[in-house]
């Protein structure tokens, strides 16, 4: 695994199910972050700062 040469791009490809898994993971982590109370408070504070 360690000595594999670099791929110029993802031409060799990964199966769709693996790609879907990656998309699901990235979306889930990002969404759970955006749903954190402190992030919601941040946007609230920013909107208040802009509006008032």
């Amino acid at each position: 695994m360690e000595e594999e040469p670099q791929a110029a791009d993802d031409e060799s490809g990964i199966p769709l199910w693996q790609a879907a898994l990656i998309a699901l993971w990235v979306a889930a982590v990002t969404a759970s972050f955006l749903a954190c109370p402190y992030v919601r408070e941040l946007w609230l504070a920013l909107f208040q700062g802009v509006l008032f």
């Binding site: 594999e4 040469p5 791929a7 993802d10 993971w25 990235v26 954190c36 941040l42 920013l46």
Partner: protein, 656 residues
Amino acid sequence: MHPFSDILAILALGFVAFAVGRACLRGLGIQPQTTTEDLALGAGLGLGILAYAVLVLALLGVLRTWAVAGLLVLFTAAGARQVPGAARDLARAVRNWRPGFWGGILIAVTLIAAATALVGALAPPSSAEWDSLSYHLAAPKVYLRHHRIVYLPYDHHSNFPFTMEMLYALGLMLSGHTLAKLFHYLTFVLTLVAMGAFARRFFPAQPLSGPAAAAIFATIPLVNFEAGTAYIDVALGYCVLLSVHCLGASRSDGAANSRWLALAAVYLGLAMGIKMTALVLYPLLLVWVAWDVLRLRAASSPEAERPPRAAAGRQLLVFAALAVAVASPWYVKTWVYTGNPVYPFFYSVFGGRDWGALQAEMYRKSQVHDFGMPSKQGDMPRRDLVAFLLAPYNLVAHPNYYFDKHGSPERVWPTSVVGPLLLALLAPLLLLRRIPWIVWRILLLALAFAVSWFVMSQQSRYFLAVFPLLALCAGYSAARIMATRWESVSGIAGVCLGAGLATLLALDGLTARELAPAAFGTVSEEAFQAYNVGPSYRAFGFLNRYLPSTAKVALYGEPRGYFLDLDYIWADLGHSTLIDYLSMKRPEALLRRYHELGITHVLINSRYAGGLLDGQGPEGRLVVPLLERGALQPIWEGGGVLVLALAPTPRAGGGE
């Protein structure tokens, strides 16, 4: 000095450091591949040389204007021959820079993040910069008053490696805290440059890797905050990145293999000279080098061309010895001062001056018990395998448990946020194919470092040492995902990356917004600090204004001595054995000790002094009776801060 002058000064100092480092690289026979690599490696080396030169002046006791001026002249002269070439190369690199559309967007995000961090760097050190005010800036300020490094018996931190603090001393001497803080900010900018150089060398087929990595790293609010402080963690991450960069280059640049290894050792030594946590990386990188050296030998064929075993061993030995040699001045100094090279750690093994088993236990508890995710509020942090596996998620969702609490354990300070992008983008590397070898190495290195981090002290900023490396892996992952042939996947990843970066930038902006008035001078520094630091700042101002220069203050619950222009000690029990409260049976013994130490005044910040003013604790049971009988007389009070003057020296007799 005006902030604009400080920016010009740091640019000039940074450029000269680059020129000096570039001369050293040429002298070593290292030929960087790109100008960004030249800049990243050269400036790091130059800043290290400058810091060690200041250390020499400080050890010789000539931390004076004429000596520093002489040093800067010599330093500039050493790099002078490289200046035209360096300037030409930089100008050409900027002219030829074509990051492309998405690369340009990511670089724009990075620049905005760098701008928010700059606001922090230009602002006076606020109460959020607790450690800057306590020792990163405070100890150099004391050194400047004495024109040399002096042993500070009350502050165990002053026996940590202080490479960055030497640059802060230079900044304080030449201008003030803004220039000092800009040295740390400079290492942040150079880290971004180094990330670009790393990506160019190791991920040439993924041109988005570098810009993505830089944006991911720069927007992390914890990093963004630290870049604007006089802390040291970003500089540590920079040196660790450079060391790993050179290790990687040593494999691909066969002819200069040994030279790259030597350079990697120098940066590792600098890292160990910046913060003791880098000592953990020393054996890990030794294993890295040993693996490479042995693999190279085994792979050589025919056998006749195989490097002799002794040569491989010599390379490893040179790497190990050089790293130790570069870091050693700090550990030797600490050993000479305290008898313990890693003071105050491993007290049970090495012992240590002005430190005791009680202080060691209190310090251990503060490092271990105050950080990490508890099972439920108020519990001790969990330290089992499940907690280790959940830590990456908890760092995203509950960063407050891994950061200084500032008295509010439930509150998430924007400055503590790590964000989701490292976690989101590193895990997919397990699924992507044909990952460069160096990515796996970095992930293994980070995993081993994470174990030590988890066991020793789960403070997110202590993990910052490997953030640049992890951000590079995350940037590579992002570039690969964006390049996948499944467009919906790259689309989702792109949206997530955008949403994550935008939110993190907003958090960075929130911190910058609070500091902007002070940074740009629309609010005076006095007014800002009086509001931000609060009554302690006013008390320090009172002491500076009205006390004679011979006064010496004992501080309780208030270690931010940077604000004091007088001699002082931290008098709390946990900081040192300077005042042996536990063996004192009567208040007179404390009074006598005050006089022995030359203490003339006492400052108590009740907010952080526990129940001292209620007579609680070993200090309170002795201090309060002195206050009640008039041996300590209040001369200033406000907002829970009390300043007391000692009555004249008592006649002999009484007490024990």
